[in-house]
């Protein structure tokens, strides 16, 4: 692929992003005027229903869709590069399992501390645990297996908790596990945005190490890459993105595995400078459009985000793979 083809693809994606944002904003059930969007930012009136709607629902949901799409795609890309495996995703380290476990605990034991905080703690505890284990392991495939085992272990505990839980808490947990972008409040957005932005900056610092990891850890080490430190940094960033998003939006399937593959197939490069930008743009656009679709249907039926991402995305990726292998 020539450099200018890549540039054109990025320009197209960049133009498409505002369009996807616009589609997402207008797909809500209640029609809102452009003026109320503007006013909700410039001179907010808490008694005006449309402005409150914008602040409390539309904008947080829009931003969360973009951040979740971009963040999950990025962390999936990290894992695929680190493990040299296209099947890896943001959840291979058991970050979602950690979040699920603590959220299940909080809901079913009735200790109602802040739900998303509990998820955050679980996700980071899982990430931290994996980093400690990674320090002691020589091979990456073992780390992958440990992550898998951790996932099975925690989901077993969650099943046991479920069997003891009452109907109400069972329902809350199921709702969380279906994934949703509307749990975030306006007040929480600031901190999420800051963490997310820091994560993006850190990702670009990883361009060179990631490009070296493409040819394997051993070869990268021979080229002077400090392997253990790099591994830690990559795991930390993955835990940051995946943990943040899972805690606030629940587990969102598919995006983290499919979008990095899609980006690689589209851009036909292993240069992470392009892959990072590609994953951010495609991930954000994909989740915006999926969630817009959910919003359109919301008046009639409510489809869980976690399901729709796979329903829309899986056939598309299979189509791409078949085309590529032909």
């Amino acid at each position: 692929m020539k450099d200018w083809t890549l540039k054109w693809m990025f320009i197209c994606l960049l133009c498409f992003l505002p369009l996807a944002m616009y589609l997402h904003l207008i797909s809500g059930q209640i029609e809102l005027s452009f003026a109320s969007y503007l006013d909700s930012i410039l001179n907010f009136d808490s008694k005006n229903t449309s402005q409150v709607l914008v602040r409390e629902f539309r904008v947080p949901r829009l931003l969360m869709a973009m951040m979740a799409g971009a963040g999950l795609s990025l962390s999936g890309m990290f894992m695929q590069t680190l493990f040299k495996n296209p099947l890896a995703g943001p959840y291979v380290l058991g970050i979602n399992s950690g979040a699920s476990l603590l959220i299940a605990l909080s809901l079913m034991t009735g200790v109602h501390f802040f739900q998303s905080n509990f998820g955050l703690i679980g996700a980071f505890a899982a990430g931290l645990l994996m980093m400690l284990i990674a320090q002691r392991l020589k091979s990456q495939i073992t780390l992958l297996l440990v992550g898998l085992m951790f996932g099975s272990f925690t989901s077993a505990i969650v099943s046991i908790l479920e069997s003891f839980a009452g109907a109400e808490s069972l329902k809350s947990y199921t709702m969380w596990s279906m994934g949703s972008l509307q749990q975030v409040e306006f007040g929480q957005l600031g901190i999420i945005l800051v963490i997310f932005a820091l994560g993006i900056v850190a990702s670009f610092l990883l361009v060179k190490p990631l490009n070296m990891l493409v040819i394997g850890e051993k070869s990268a080490a021979l080229l002077g890459l400090p392997i253990k430190a790099t591994r830690m940094f990559v795991l930390l960033l993955t835990a940051l993105f995946a943990g943040l998003i899972t805690a606030f939006c629940g587990p969102i399937a598919f995006v983290g595995i499919a979008i990095p593959n899609l980006s690689r197939i589209l851009f036909q490069t292993t240069n992470h400078r392009y892959l990072i930008i590609g994953n951010i743009l495609i991930g954000a656009i994909f989740l915006l459009l999926t969630d817009a679709f959910i919003q359109v249907l919301e008046g009639h039926i409510s489809i869980p985000l976690n399901a729709l991402t796979s329903i829309i995305g899986a056939p598309f990726v299979v189509f791409l793979l078949i085309r590529k292998l032909r």
Partner: protein, 231 residues
Amino acid sequence: MIQLTRVSVGYSGELLHAEKLELEAGKVYALVGRNGIGKSTFIQTISGIQKQLAGEITMNGQLISEYNPREIAEFISLVDTRFEGVEYLKVKDYLALGRAPFTDAFGRMDSNDWRIVEEVASDLSIQHLLEKNTDQISDGERQLCSVGRAFVQETPVILLDEPTAFLDYINRKKLLELLVRLSREKKKCIVLSTHDLDLCLDQKVPFLLAAHGTVSLHETLSKETIIEAMS
């Protein structure tokens, strides 16, 4: 350039022992020995990624364990036998990775870096592969690319683990001649493990003979002696 003193090489048990070896600049050393005797382990131990069981390895008078990974990468390059190619990784970009120890934190290549890549590609006659993906060329072509990446690294020491395994006869001969020429012109110290006894004998390179658990240096050896020593 590289000195080994009473070095034991192996993973859990000793595979090979080198009592005293000095590898000099300007020479190509052919490491020969039977399958499984520990040639790869020996090479990886010199490269610093595998720790020796005992003994001292020094590089320009300083212990190799005292260098950090990046310093080693500026001094030693290693060509591994097993590069299987990566989807969408172009030969050009694969070779460019050899500049990684010298590029900035973002891995940006300047015109000099690209000039080195071009030169190496023309030395190895692989210019026609530059735009191809590393997973879509033959095993032999990929092997030449691996050698190329080590050349691009421009290190004074180059270690090659069976670089000729997948090559045809012409390419084997050409590669060995190129290594000899490079070692003389650019004063490099090159060690390659190989089973191509005849080609090495033709080029009159010194041998590192790995047999019966020891590695020994021989400036000249006849084919008969080598075969006798190995069996």
